[in-house]
Each structure stands twice: as C-alpha cells, then as structure tokens.
Amino acid sequence: MRKFILRRLAISVVILFFVALIIYTIMRCMPSSFVENMAREKASLPGGKSYREWLDQLNQSYGLDKGIAAGFVHWLKQAVRGNFGDSWAFNVPVTQKFKTVIMDSFVLGGTSFLLQIIIAIPLGILAARKQYSKTDYAISVFALIGISLPSFFFATILKYVFSIKLGWFDLFGMIGRMYEQLSPFGKFLDRAHHLILPVITLVIVNVGSLMRYTRTNMLEVLNSDYIRTARAKGLSEKRVINYHAFRNTLIPIVTIIGGTLPSLFAGAMITETLFQIEGIGYTSYQAMTTGDIPFSMFYMVFMAILTLLGNLIADVLYAVVDPRVRVN
C-alpha cells in the first residue's frame, strides 16, 4: 500500500508540472492582460508617457518581457520555495489574500457538503428500498427539482421569501451590523445565521445528483444474490440494509466523495456573489478577469493539487471499503 501511494505521488508531481505549464501558457496568451489595461490607464493620464512606453516599462517590472518558457521557469523556481509572489490585482502577497478569503468558502462548502451527504445517502437508500412507491417518487421529484434549479434563481427566491417577505435573514453579507459588539459565541451565531441561506442554496442545488446516485447503486446492490443470501439467513431487514447492503453501496459512493475534495475549496462563485460573501470563488473570478497571473496560478495549481489528492484519497478509500481491490 505504501509503495502504491508513493508511486501515485510521484506520478502526481509530473502531472502537476504539466498542468502548471498549461495554465501558465494560457494565462500568458489571454487577449487582455493586466499590464495592457494598466498601461492604457496610465497613458490616458495627462502629461504622461505614451501607451507603448508604459507597456514596455510595466512588462519589464512585472517580468512579462521574458518568453513564456523562461517566465514559467522563473515562476516555478519561486513556487517550489513557497514564494508565490504578490497579487497584481489585490496588491498583497498571494498567500495572504488567499488566507483571508478561503475560510468563508471552506466553511460554506464544508457545511453544505456534510449536509448533502447526511441528506442524500439516507434518502437515496430509502428511495431504493421503496422503489416505485410514493416515497420514491417524492424523493426523485425533489432531487430532480434541485438538479434543474439554477442557483442564481433559487437563491433569489430564497432571498425574496425569507429576507424580504419574512425578514428572518439579512439579504447578504457574512456578518450583521452589530457584529463587533457581540460576545465570541454571539459572533459565531451571527456568522452561522448569515450562512443559512447560502448553505440551503448550495445543498438543494447539489444534493440531487448524489441522491440519485445512491438510489441507483442501492437498487443494484439490493437485487444482488448476496442480499438474498443475507435474507435467507434470517437476518432482519434492518440488518440486511444497514450492514450487508450499505457496505456495498459505499464502494462507489466513496469514490465520488473522494473526488469532491477540491470542490470544498473551489468556492461557489455564483452563490458567493449573490450573497456578497468574499470567498475564493468570487476572488478567483476577479483575479481571472483582471489577468492577475500570480493569484490565478496559485489558485489553479492549488486546485490541481487537491484534485490529484482527491483521486488518490478516493483510490485509497476504495481499497479500504472493497477487499477485492486491495493490493497484496
């Protein structure tokens, strides 16, 4: 097992190198770059240098006068030392900006992810157990509504009903007006209160697919021969479902869940924007549109690492839940 993990890690490093190279190339080839915009702005100021002069000067100071290959090597040299440079758009070190925005996104993503699992798996199992019953249809319809709803539309409805009509929540933001005066526990509650609507949006929109997936898998497992054997042993239905069937349903679900690791940190751009939560989704979008190469590079490479790690974790978990794939 250790050998397997080490080999996978080694392969991951190679993949990561090429991913970073591709992202860097694309960032450099984008039609409107950060320096071009800046040069245009500066040139339009009275009494300044011309656009061309500004462009040359800025290119030099931002290190864009080098070719793509040389630029990438330079970035890589710094990156492996843990130095990702300063963000151009936000004028602070990349890691510092990242630290300030990641927490909100992670809490949002993590909470909704946990809720999704807690809701989707039991409901999926229930739907499979009572296939073609009213319960099954109700759950399937609920799942499909969730899958089909665009998050911006659903979030708007939630805001209209719960913020405007009922006034239970603030329309947007992470903290209330009186945040600073609150006790530490009060602060926590205030933040939690502001997270409710975004979390509901994310859960409802995303829960459906996992639910359908669980249902399909459970149905397959329930129709298998070993479940019939378990029943023939005289086991109670509860034990058949919760022990024999559940362990087998876990096999595909675990791989899916392992694969969702990056999404915990990816942020939810639309939801974050709608609720004005300054999370990573919103920030990375800004960085991308302004052509902020250092921040985008950091964010994308970070996502790539998480994706590779997620796959590795999924594979390891796969071996944990399924004895047939264990390597001896």
Binding site: Y226, T229, A232, K233, G234, H244, R247
Partner: protein
C-alpha cells in the same frame, strides 16, 4: 389466415400504453391489499399455526399459487402446486427454465420479490417439530426465526451469493450467532470452523479469515452449504446447487449434501433441470411444467415408468452413455406465454400424443399407484387408475 395469425401473435406480446397503465394500476391495488394484510402488527398466532395432514412430512405444499403482477399482466409462476416433502427424504423438482421450480422454493422461504410477487392462495405447511407454520400466512418477523434456522437455502450462483466485502468467518458466524443467542463469540467461532471442516474445507482456519473472492466456485459453494447447515435445519432447499460448477466438483458437492443430510437428519428439496442429478440424489421426483405439477412419484416410478408426455420428452432429451443417436431429442415448440395461459392442458401444443379431449379442460391428477400421480388424459380411461387417490 396467415395475416390474422400474425396479428394475434403480436397482440399476445404487445399491449398499448393505456392498457399497461390500467394493468399496473390494478396490480398496485391488489398488491397493496395483500401487503397491508401482510404487514399488520401483532398477527395472532392461531392465524399461521396449523396442523400437518401427515406428521411424517416436513413440508406440505397445498394448492400453492404464487403470482407476479407485472405491467403487462399477471404471470402465474406457480399455479396450484401440491406435494409433500417427507422427513429425511430428498425430493427432486425438475422442469425446464421458467417453469416455477425456483419460485416454489422461494415461496417456501418467503423470498419472492415483493410487492410484485405474491402468494395469492394456498398454503405451505412447515413442520418445525414442535409447531406447524403456514408459511403463506406467517408474518416476516416470525419467518426470520425460521429462515437459516429451520429451513435454509443453497443458491445456484456461488460466485455471487456471498457478500464480497465481508470475511467468510464473519458471514458464517453471523447465521450461527443469530439463531443461537446464548452462544459466546468464541463458541460461535469454534462452531464456524467446525462447520467449514465438515463441508470438506481443509484449511478451515485460513478460509475463516479469507474473503469470498479468494476462493474458487466449489469452495464458495461449500461455504454456502456450511452456512446453510450451521443451525441443523429441518429442510435444506438446494436451488440448482451444482449448475455453475464443473463436473468433478458437482459430484463432490452432491456427495457432500447427501452425507450431511443423513448426519443432521434433515430433508432436501433439490431443484434442478439435470435428470442425472435427480437420479442420483432423489427419493421422490416432482416434474413441473409452466407453473403446475404434471407428474410426481418416487424416483423409481418416474425413471422406470415416465407417464406424462412431457416427462417422457425430458427423459428422451437426456444424453445417455452407450446409446448412439444422430441428433439429441428435443421437445418441439416452446412454453406458452405465461401471461396468457390456455385453459386446456398447457402441454397440448407441444404434445405428441394429444387427443381431442385434451383441448377441453386442464386434466385432473390421476394416481397410477398410491405414490405416482400424473395430470394427463391418456390415463383417465385407464383401468385401475385412481382418481384423486381413491
């Protein structure tokens, strides 16, 4: 004429969406009613505790009807089956695929796929020694005490019948622990290993810790048998136990089953389409066709004097050593559509000896000897034949 015929043939297998919806609505009504009846809490005991007709039998199937309510119509998988399994004997059930052999045995275990599949009428009396249960009416909670304990089942597919994610030991322990609550963990383990040894697994301690995928098909079937026999059941249902195994293993498994049956003094209901297996194992034979019994009797009677044209056909379609034939015999035609069964003899269309009278009503059972019964008009006029055993 040909045109008319093809139209009719089409209508047998094709129904409109409207019709299908009407049928499934009706089905739901019927199955919901049966399910409601089944799922009542605290069913009074005297509803399912009955008396055996003959105390020497372990199981008495009495006019069992098991139907499947599908969207294209009701499939009468088992349609009025009656036979007995005497204590300590092996009863072989033969018939081609889809004739209701497995559904009969699954009905006895209450493992028919519900809610589509239901026992609609008839009874299955099961003798535990102290009490007699009518399995058709026994609630699931009581049934769970019988399954694996009093009656156990060995399935056709050893490759998929064991749960792939649990060790062999865990799976064997589970059934012993479940029905012997007073046993400690260590006692259970000792018993499991003893059972594995009993079914001829040499490295029983090692196998105890293995996963199913580390074993061959024959070994897995042995584990299934160990699991089935761990609680000394009164009846073992073996549903084509050797079909998926190669010939050398087949003989070993059958030998094993026969020896163990005598050792724990139980009965076997052996389901198979292999007449060789039946000849070797069975004391009594039941021949099924399209959900009904066409002939039953002792093994000697069936093999020496096969009487129903279907049984004769089955015998002829079996390859025999030392008999040279150009081409192996096969019964012409195919089984009638299970949704749209004729009201005359089901075998009429394929029968070589059909007569005009066969087209009238389904033939009654005629007793050729006190143990040998056959449902065929050929014997109705026969001298000395006993109608309904009288």
């Amino acid at each position: 004429m040909a045109l008319l015929k093809s139209k009719k043939a089409k209508s047998a297998n094709y129904i409109s969406g409207k019709e299908s919806r009407r049928i499934s609505k009706e089905n739901r009504k019927t199955t919901d009613q049966i399910e409601k009846q089944r799922n009542r809490r605290n069913v009074p005991r005297d509803e399912y505790i009955t008396q055996m007709k003959d105390q020497n039998n372990v199981v008495e199937f009495d006019d069992l009807h098991t139907y499947f309510f599908t969207d294209i119509g009701t499939v009468k998988a088992v349609d009025g089956v009656s036979f007995n399994i005497p204590q300590g004997k092996t009863v072989g059930v033969v018939g081609e695929s889809g004739c209701g052999k497995s559904v009969t045995s699954l009905s006895l275990m209450q493992l028919v796929q519900r809610p589509q599949g239901q026992i609609v009428s008839g009874s299955i009396r099961f003798n535990t020694g102290d009490e007699v249960y009518d399995i058709a009416k026994t609630p699931t909670s009581e049934m769970q005490k019988l399954r694996g304990n009093m009656v156990s089942m060995i399935f056709q597919e050893p490759m998929t019948s064991l749960n792939p994610v649990f060790r062999i030991g865990v799976q064997v322990d589970e059934v012993i622990q479940l029905h012997n609550k007073q046993m400690s963990k260590d006692e259970v383990k000792v018993r499991s290993i003893e059972m594995l040894e009993l079914v001829g697994i040499a490295n029983s301690e090692g196998v105890y810790r293995m996963y199913p995928h580390e074993l061959s098909g024959g070994m897995r079937q042995r584990v299934m048998i160990a699991m089935g026999l761990a609680c000394n059941p009164k009846l073992i249902i073996a549903d084509e136990p050797t079909t998926a195994l190669d010939v050398t293993i087949q003989a070993q498994i059958l030998e094993l089953l026969r020896n163990l049956k005598d050792k724990i003094n139980s009965s076997i209901m052996l389901i198979t389409h292999d007449l060789g297996v039946i000849a070797e194992m069975a004391d009594f034979v039941v021949v099924m066709y399209a959900g009904r019994i066409v002939e039953r009797g002792t093994a000697d009677e069936i093999f020496k004097n096969p009487s129903h044209p279907y049984t004769i056909g089955l015998m002829n379609s079996k390859p025999a050593v030392g008999k040279k034939v150009d081409r192996l015999y096969s019964i012409p035609g195919k089984v009638p559509n299970p949704i749209d069964m004729p009201n005359y003899c089901y075998f009429y269309d394929r029968c070589e000896k059909r007569m005009d009278v066969c087209k009238t009503a389904y033939p009654n059972e005629i007793y050729l000897t006190p143990t040998h019964a056959v449902s065929c008009y050929l014997y109705h006029e026969m001298k000395g034949a006993l109608e309904n055993g009288r």
